[in-house]
Symmetry: C2
Amino acid sequence: MPDSREPAYRYRQVAEALRDRIQGGEWVPGERIPTEAALAAEFDVNRLTVRQAITQLRIIGLVDTRQGSGTYVANPVPLLEVSMASDDDVDHGSLRATAHPAVGHVHERLLSVTPDADAQAAALLSVPASRLFRIATLLESDETLYAVCDYWIDGDRFPGIADGWDDGETMGMRLQSEFDVTAYYSWRRFRADAADPAIASQLGVTVGAPLLIRDGVSHDEHGSPVYYVVRRMRGDRVAYTVNYLDRPTRDR
Amino acid sequence: MPDSREPAYRYRQVAEALRDRIQGGEWVPGERIPTEAALAAEFDVNRLTVRQAITQLRIIGLVDTRQGSGTYVANPVPLLEVSMASDDDVDHGSLRATAHPAVGHVHERLLSVTPDADAQAAALLSVPASRLFRIATLLESDETLYAVCDYWIDGDRFPGIADGWDDGETMGMRLQSEFDVTAYYSWRRFRADAADPAIASQLGVTVGAPLLIRDGVSHDEHGSPVYYVVRRMRGDRVAYTVNYLDRPTRDR
DNA sequence: CACGATTTGTTCGTATGTATT
DNA sequence: AAATACATACGAACAAATCGT
């Protein structure tokens, strides 16, 4: 009777053996593990089989591979904790988004502004698609790129919104200073997806790396939609925390 | 002068060509695309090169492969929209979690109850690790498995919490009925990660598939921690929406 | 139900390209 | 510049799952 715990395939056996050594502390984070050729000899398998095992370990974030250098046990990356907290100075007790209090200084760098007749954004904003512009930005914290953002906004209502954008500014600050408009959230949505080649190269991750995606619509004081935003964040870098400080909130 | 837009590597060229055909509508969702051998012949590359291209498309969710059958254009899976909304019947205006209103009937199936001295959970709950139990469950909606959950809870304070668990119940309902305790959220956190082999087999996804992970701590009426929960959800199935209905919420 | 044909999954061997040291 | 190590690519064979006859 065969042991069903033991996977039949060689590359999985190798992957489990390597994982056990890493998690058992035999190889510590940052350390280089033996070369593919050495592992192939040790386990008496083809080098391609070792590569398949290492590929699995890489996509679950256990190792990093560097061409010409070697394969290294991945260093645990400290998460950027982005908080949404109920705020002391808001007397009505609603949940106010206080972005990035746990991360260092955040830069939002303008990448591009282009007309983009996105049908979905048009529907969400109740604006003719032909009037929409897409504003692409990068979010960095402590020199570390962690997200790419796309905003869709009505170019007729907010002409030149991106002109003279400074790296220290955010979209919310620009709306306030240029148009005297305060943007409030209507809704925000969290998803997870794999990085396609385009996003992967922008964020500096491998194709298929997990992304935390947050999108949402903002509105002004009168309830009129202002912009639709999609943020694609590195899953290995960012976590979003919702704090319920003021009042008990039922979990059911 | 070579066109830098054109990737040099064959497998990427093949991946882009296949992606263009799918997104261009040449092959529709559910349709079987040509076999690896046929594509290898068409592009004049080795079959392993075609496989590498298809692997990329599978990782980003564009195709499904079935051994013995073929490679199919992936059907867009409708997202289960899980909402957290401010609730009408809560007079103090706080954000109350109303789980799963947009999905069908949710079953939480008990998998296992085991003593588990998890140090992190112990710290979060302010309970000696030796008293902790881990309760593993599955979440299903309309016969579709979409999440695996782990709860850590004080076995001394809530003895036999999982005894006689019915599929229609949830942890919150059991705490209410068995111990007359209402669980409120202290905080909830959203992350994204890749599925390791253990989670992948539980959720029926491939290793490396993106997961939306929500963890958090709940407390009772007196502010005392009740449990720590980790939900690992299929990224291709679930989206979490936070609705701000009652009051404007600043985006900054 | 059996069986063969088809198709993807795994593994070997070998060679060459490219980035790092 | 040379050696090292991962990345890409080719060819071949067998295993395992699926499907139609």
